[in-house]
């Protein structure tokens, strides 16, 4: 039986297409403190839920993690521990999300729908390497 022809928005793919995992790495997207009202903050987080629901509806099995800004960095042969991430706030990694997509272009199309740009965030899209294929 043939699958019905559907006209879907770019970024959606039929279930029969091969899928691979991609990680979306979120940077920045922090708000400057004063000019954003409580309603706008709540509306912003709700946009993320609508986006996530849409990804779930497309069968992309998204699972994300938010990161706090404080932290430590361990590095070098001596395993030296230093305070905090060094990045400027716009470059600071604030979270990551793994989704399934048909191709890098498809994953980029997903990333373009993310609400993070409202507050100047950026998204890095990277294929997840799975060991044996």
């Amino acid at each position: 039986m043939l699958a019905p022809v559907t006209t879907e928005s770019p970024g959606t793919t039929g279930p029969e297409e091969p899928r691979a995992s991609y990680m979306l790495i979120f940077r920045g997207g922090a708000v400057s403190r004063d000019d954003v009202s409580p309603s706008v903050l709540q509306a912003h987080v709700e946009k993320w839920y609508r986006w996530s629901d849409e990804l779930a509806r497309q069968g992309r099995h998204n699972a994300g993690t938010a990161l706090d800004n404080a932290g430590k960095t361990v590095g070098g042969h001596e395993r030296i521990v230093t305070d905090g991430p060094y990045a400027e706030s716009k470059d600071l990694v604030t979270g990551a999300l793994i989704i399934e997509a048909a191709s890098l272009d498809d994953a980029v199309a997903v990333a373009r729908q993310c609400p993070t740009y409202e507050f100047g965030g950026s998204v890095e899209v990277r294929p997840v390497q799975n060991g044996g294929g």
């Binding site: 309603s39 709700e46 069968g59 994300g64 938010a66 706090d68």
Partner: protein, 423 residues
């Protein structure tokens, strides 16, 4: 993270207005604890907690969102106090960290919320401040609107709002502390200002200044929420407060039918009364019953009485117009004004016939305010149409259209103009 957002899981959302309501709760609690001179610091702490929540919740809602925000604000407040204590400015009376933690926890406890928000309301409704300054402060600190959002509501620029808030802050600073209404010495002087401010707040939601968004139910709901806080405290639970709460209930119950899908005002006779909020009308009736004590018939009693007659009537024809006219007569005696006169004339038209109503409307036409009020001309046109004076009705509708302040008003009048016979 993520497990609860599986494909089949229903969309998980947040309680409506959670961030705004927590803003109000926390600003009042922290301002009371830190003192009104540290209001800006309290605002910073709360804003910081809300920004953190927004950031942390992007990939899922915590189990208890409200508790999460309170916890974030608590931790931030304790950090700030400890840091500031080196400068010895904040809460110097607290001996140690444990005392600070206990004080903040007690202030942020749900049980303290009503008292804190009432204390805040009575502090900002200072009779020495202009009513629009009081409402601006309520919108900022008790409804959680930003200066920009308040400016949009009042159709004034953000700088004007900032100036009002600055005046308010300066005045608050003189208070040194926000006193519990049960112990407030000038509670009687201030309560008039409080009720007036709540009425203005409600009106800003019911027919606001911004023509692009003339109805904003959340402001009406906030006005009712704050009014009901007054009813929960013995010091402020007077009959006229019950009357005000009743008025708000009856009007909010009818909000769903005020605008159609295109945002155009719907005339009363065309509104689908089945959509009115019955439980809220019941709540209004309970408030109205509670208001019927004492010997003073306040303006809010009369307005609630009128709103009640509309809310319980099955149709325009079956409305108790006789009682409504009596309420308007009393209102005219107590607080006369052109809008009251206009509404009284419309009630007379329903009670005594279109011709009598039309005569009364024409009699008040000289009022400067009414002559420039589009609703006056539209109401007159309606009566002229019903009296088969279609020529007069046409020019009145045209006048209403010329004066109208929003697309919604204009469309509403144009639709009625189109119903007229072709001349």
């Amino acid at each position: 993270v993520g497990e609860h957002r599986d494909v089949e899981a229903p969309a998980i959302g947040l309680v409506e207005d959670l961030f705004r309501n927590e803003h109000a709760h926390l600003v009042a609690a922290l301002t009371r604890t830190l003192g009104p001179s540290n209001l800006s610091l309290a605002e910073d702490v709360v804003q910081d907690a809300l920004v953190r929540a927004m950031h942390a919740w992007r990939f899922g809602v915590p189990r208890d969102p409200k508790a999460w925000i309170v916890r974030a604000a608590r931790n931030r407040a304790i950090d700030v106090i400890r840091r500031e204590r080196h400068g010895a400015s904040l809460l110097p009376q607290l001996a140690n960290s444990a005392a600070i933690t206990d004080t903040i926890d007690a202030a942020l406890a749900p049980a303290a919320d009503r008292e804190n928000q009432l204390a805040m309301m009575f502090a900002v409704c200072d009779p020495a401040l202009a009513p629009e300054t009081q409402v601006t402060m309520i919108l900022r600190w008790q409804c959680g609107l930003s200066p920009n959002e308040i400016g949009q509501a009042f159709l004034v620029d953000t700088q004007t709002i900032d100036r009002r808030l600055h005046r308010g802050r300066v005045r608050l600073r003189e208070l040194r502390q926000l006193v519990d209404v049960d112990r407030l010495r000038d509670v009687r002087e201030r309560r008039g200002s409080v009720l007036q401010a709540l009425y203005l707040l409600f009106n800003e939601g019911y027919h606001g200044s911004n023509p692009g968004e003339p109805v904003r139910p959340f402001l009406c709901i906030d006005a009712l929420r704050l009014t009901e806080l007054l009813l929960d405290a013995p010091a402020t639970a007077q009959p006229d407060v019950s009357a005000l709460a009743a008025l708000f209930c009856f009007d909010i119950a009818r909000l769903p039918t005020r605008l159609d899908a295109e945002g155009v005002f719907v005339p009363l006779e065309e509104q689908d009364r089945a959509q009115w909020d019955r439980p809220l009308i019941e709540a209004g009736l309970a408030h109205l019953a509670a208001s019927a004590t004492g010997d003073r018939m306040s303006r809010w009693h009369l307005e609630a009485g009128i709103a009640c007659e509309h809310a319980v009537a099955p149709s325009v024809g079956e409305t108790a117009w006789g009682r409504i006219v009596v309420f308007y007569d009393l209102l005219m005696a107590q607080s006369p004004g052109p809008i009251v006169a206009l509404n009284r004339a419309l009630a007379v038209a329903e009670r005594d016939g279109v011709e009598e109503g039309r005569r009364q409307l024409v009699a008040v036409a000289d009022e400067k305010k009414l002559a420039r009020y589009p609703f006056y001309w539209a109401a007159l046109a309606d009566l002229q149409r019903r009296a088969d004076r279609h020529g007069d009705a046409r020019s009145s509708y045209q006048r209403a259209i010329e004066l109208s302040r929003s697309a919604a008003e204009r469309t509403s009048y144009r639709r009625r103009l189109d119903l007229l016979e072709i001349p």
